[in-house]
């Protein structure tokens, strides 16, 4: 990662929690520093994987909830 920004900064950046002008500076660092690009890509990949491991509950769980809602 670039000397001026920490891993925490990049995490906050990914989740849109960085205000201007830091936001623009981080983006510029990612765009221009190849080593940051690599680390940033790994970070995005790791977080992206969290979306791919999602599983749904069994149908009967939702059916039970809907049944409760109808009688509540």
């Amino acid at each position: 990662m670039a000397p001026n920004f920490t891993l925490s900064d990049y995490i906050r950046y990914i989740y849109n929690e960085v205000d201007f002008p830091d936001c623009a500076l981080i983006q510029r660092t990612i765009d221009t520093d190849p080593s940051v690009q690599v680390d940033y890509s790994k970070l995005v990949l790791s977080l992206g994987f969290l979306d791919r491991i999602l599983i749904d509950p069994p149908v009967y769980c939702v059916d039970n909830i809907m049944q409760y809602a109808r009688t509540a």
Binding site: L7, S8, I11, R12, Y15, E17, K42, L43, L45, S46, L47, G48, F49, L50, R52, I53, L54, I55, D56, P57, P58, C61, V62, N64, I65, M66, Y68, A69, R70, A72
Partner: protein
Amino acid sequence: MRKFVTSDKTLIAQFIKGNQDSLNQLIKRHQSKVFTSLIILVKNRDVAEDLFQETFIKVIKTLKSGNYNEEGKFLPWVIRIAHNLAIDHFRREKRVQMVRDTDEYSVMNTLPFYDKNVEDKIVVDQIHSDLRKLIEELPVEQKEVLIMRHYGNMSFKDIAETTEVSINTSLGRMRYALINLRKLIKEHNIVLQA
């Protein structure tokens, strides 16, 4: 053509007025994030199923009582309820740490139904299942922040308030969670593909 998506806020309002299908849509929209969060937290599929139902029963009670005031932040609110129920579960069980591995919780329990002939899908499902189990092995406070930020869409400020720590601490936990996760992925030779 752009697909129109009914907002959570609208679905909530419709459900409160008696539209059951709106509740069904809300559940379907968020079920995987809530259920996966619970599985990661409690490491037991049966318990996660129970807590998932308890979570939405609590949601229904609150919505019907007119006490819901988390406008625009439905999912973070639901994830907070699920998290609190998981904590209550552990208090009841008097367990300091998250549940140990049990025979009943096998990798196969987390695999969705699939066609046996589709080997690629089985491999992918296996990788996902393995990764899910690796996340389950992270320290509780790191799992909490990972779930709340990524699945619950809660800001680090909200997470800090919910878990009663500073923003820097919650950010630090997220940082360590990701560092540990990558370490575990490397140790277990799991191949991440974009």
